[in-house]
Symmetry: C2
Subunit: 363 residues, 2 copies
């Protein structure tokens, strides 16, 4: 799809002003814009300003508290449960991440389960923050239901991502950031817009039958868990999604599974509430609590180089290192700008019209 390039800093300022329009405190607005910008820079287009209109709608309708206070409701030396006060996940998540990192600095590791929060952007942003402090960061969140359990015919779980990152010395870090379903919902939408089929194994229709028709998934069908079917190990992707849900929501007191509240206005409301908001799980490990950090980073370098030297499978250039594609995107987009499709630009222009905040169109 044709896309215009927008300078990252201009999109950032626009985003900050949109959050400020709803009286989100200045620091919080900048944090939220930073998380969204990170998605756009790293090529995860579905999680950047493409979502700004949804945040706009939720704030406009009072569904999210722009000035929420984050509070610790229970804690131990290495753990905490945080209540996000129904604030922006883009603000609550980073604050909970700070708590996890502070706990790690004091106790070797820190683990924070978060309730009463909203979508927190890309899981990977949180672990990149931990990397800046020399920590191993973990990040998980549950999300609105989209995925069928193996042998299920309906959406019961979110795409429930897991992120974790490990620093190298001379090599770039290993950065893992993956949804626990086979393919992202954004890929289904892209296929629909392009009028093309999707591979078998990505989705099922409303009857639970595997489908290659993106519309059949979107119209009441479901994504499939990583592994897709029994032979492919679909029970494993399903189990990982359950793990993320329990750590994020049952441990904090948030909604889980099919009861996670919708992120976008057009999504259906859950049949009941079993907790508060959605849930995240954020963790940090201090490397020197286990091993000399320089030795660890040297070994990461060695592992990265060893994996890159793997004999390539036919038709490929050999294995990538987790995080390579995002780092490549960040390099290109930081230089050339962020490509926005026309529908996303239209959404931003709609926000601009309704708030009076100008959207710069070109560098």
């Amino acid at each position: 799809m044709a896309a215009d390039l927008y300078p990252p800093d201009q999109l950032f300022e626009f985003t900050v002003r949109v959050f400020r329009h709803f009286d989100v405190p200045a620091d919080d607005a900048r944090t939220a814009a930073t998380v969204l910008q990170s998605a756009d820079l790293r090529g995860i287009d579905s999680h950047g300003v493409a979502r700004l209109h949804t945040y706009f709608d939720m704030l406009d309708l009072g569904r999210i508290n722009p000035k929420a206070q984050v509070s610790i409701v229970r804690e131990s030396a290495s753990t905490a449960t945080v209540d996000g006060g129904n604030g922006l996940g883009l603000v609550v998540g980073p604050k909970a991440n700070e708590i996890a990192m502070e706990k790690a600095l004091a106790a070797g590791s820190g683990w924070v389960s978060v309730r009463n929060t909203n979508h927190y952007g890309i899981a990977g942003w949180y672990v990149l923050e931990a990397l800046k402090r020399g920590l191993i960061g973990w990040s998980m969140t549950n999300t609105t239901r989209l995925v069928a359990p193996l042998w299920g015919a309906e959406r019961m779980l979110g795409t429930n991502p897991i992120a974790i990152a490990f620093p190298g010395a001379e090599e770039p870090p290993i950065v893992i950031d993956m949804a626990t379903c086979t393919a992202a919902y954004g890929k289904i939408e892209m296929a629909r817009r392009a009028g093309s089929q999707i591979p078998l194994g990505w989705a099922a229709d409303r009857n639970g039958v595997p489908t290659t028709d993106p519309n059949a998934m979107i119209d009441g069908g479901a994504l499939l868990p990583l592994g897709s079917d029994r032979e492919g190990g679909g029970h494993k992707g399903y189990a990982l999604a359950v793990m993320v849900d329990v750590l994020s929501a049952l441990l904090s007191g948030a909604n889980w599974g099919p009861f996670v509240p919708p992120f976008a206005l057009r999504q259906e409301m859950p049949t009941r509430s079993v907790g508060k908001g959605i849930g995240h799980f954020l963790g940090a490990l201090r490397i020197d609590a286990f091993i000399d950090p320089d030795e660890f980073k040297k070994q990461i370098d060695d592992m990265v180089r060893t994996l890159r030297r793997t004999r390539p499978a036919p038709g490929t250039e050999g294995p990538l290192i987790p995080g390579d594609p995002e780092r490549e995107a960040e390099s290109v987009r930081g230089r050339d700008g962020i490509p926005l499709t026309q529908p996303v630009v239209e959404e931003l222009l709609d926000i601009s019209r309704r708030t009076g905040i100008p959207l710069e169109k070109r560098r």
Copy 2:
């Protein structure tokens, strides 16, 4: 394949006596036999007494220290690095797990990375131990290379399992125990013995080409990571295997990736050593460090019941809960006995002949 049923307690006593034959201390021998028995009872046949001859060989050749001391080489309030002294993983793993659980009781969570150890049995045993103390247990280990990274044509990573368990109140616990490859090596061997094909997506041949021939995998080919190929999300299974390897080995100072030492005698030796032995990563979370445990367990019950009520996909009876198949096996085998195939029985009889320890053949 035809199988004879053996009473669990007689196999247990045989196993204890085999370890005692090599002067493994009595308590350690019973622990090791308990871990192996758990695999046999839970239906994970590849990890039970089917492996006893391999342990026998390794002990017989002095490759494993039967009287190893486990020592903490670095620690913080919530973490530790443990050196297993090249002991049995079936003994080192449980001791490291104890340390993780003690740390959790004191600091809310406990995380132990282990080096200089050997294969530790089923990952699930460790998290079941944590359940007994009311803790959420985590367990990972790296293993001898068998799996190709996505776009790789050779074995570079182990099957690197992840286990985690969550207790319910009235419902049985959710117990996740999964290798990070699509299918277990044991399934490839079963297909070879049966002379049947394997599904596309499980394995590649020695040139990195996906294959349905089990011999092509066994003869220098590789297992494929969970997700199998790029479209199926094979980069995610690969990333999970890397995650397990880093936490288990790079954080502890063990060997990783293609340098993990072989478990069985017939396996090739790695080209170099990058650490000590293999590595495990064991963790525990205290539930009451996050939320009231009764409330948590009630929510787990609700989640289990909710997932069981999922509308079934055509041709299925609906989703299972992770841990269902193993619990079912445990119930049947605890009553009827453990089925051993003739090759496994032959191996046990060989041990019996060489040690003079009688193997009871029937209930």
